[in-house]
Symmetry: C2
Subunit: 171 residues, 2 copies
């Protein structure tokens, strides 16, 4: 159901990659709302305190979901964007490394945090996000994605945390 | 009311600038929800079809507001992030220029679009956003911000479009 609102864009961001474009889904009000409600439904049993979204597309689903659930929203951002004291975490890319940050006071000790992003690919970004939330005293209790690319096995990097996705692709 | 959830961070991103940090507001579920409802209330009369948010903090309020109102969400992004055909618009910064993009098929002809961002400062980004939406056939009928820095006179760049802000600072 979600899948028909996802557009495959070949050779983006580079040759050989088929990019999953979520903008048609965002453009369809019912599909967008159903995806937020779908995420909420998947995590209804986790008694979460806060929703964490990873810049930038994670902000779209994370913030809408936090508002829908009436919970806090915690933004994880690229380096140098957050103005207050931050914790940082780096992770490996195909070539080189990337870094993400969160404010050190973004959660209260022991708060139960739902981690949100639009896409689970190799899992490196979300693995770093999970570490970051733990570093500042939060408890990442579940991850939810709009899309999971099964064949990249990103779940393996998130062992011990329930992972949900509304649409899964095996190729 | 919103103001007490905004944290002033001096000398960010550079000496002499007092940055308005919105993360304490996002962290307070009631304040976050009231801000979304407050934005919705300000624009209730505009009969909008879609909400447009500008990367990255504009995604937080724009997407939550679109989901709240049951409307489309249109992301305006930094260059090279959107995978499909794009329209682009450049604008001047203090030093140099910046560019933003939107998918050419992000709106239907004549759709009434609410423009959203967290902060109205000099107005350059939002002015470019308004031009971009017009370029692809949309009608930007109103702008709404969480915060407006009155003393930077950003409204002057948005003449002809109603501008609303939940919190206004005159210094």
């Amino acid at each position: 159901m979600i899948e028909r609102h996802i557009r495959d864009v070949p050779d983006f961001p580079k040759p050989g990659i088929v990019f999953k474009d979520i903008t048609p889904l965002l453009q369809d009000p019912k599909a967008f709302q159903r995806s937020i409600e779908g995420m909420a439904g998947r995590v209804a049993d986790f008694e979460i305190d806060a929703v964490c979204g990873i810049e930038s597309r994670g902000f779209i689903f994370g913030a809408a979901l936090a508002a829908h659930l009436g919970k806090s929203f915690i933004p994880i951002r690229k380096p140098g964007k957050l103005p207050w004291r931050t914790a940082t975490e780096s992770y490996e890319l195909e070539y080189g490394t990337d870094t993400i940050e969160v404010h050190t006071d973004a959660v209260e000790e022991g708060q139960r945090v739902l981690m949100v992003d639009d896409l689970l690919a190799t899992g490196g970004t979300m693995e770093a996000g999970v570490k970051l939330i733990r570093k500042i005293g939060g408890d990442p209790v579940a991850c939810v994605f709009l899309i999971e690319l099964d064949f990249l096995k990103g779940r393996n990097k998130l062992r011990g945390i329930p992972v949900h996705a509304l649409a899964r692709y095996d190729q």
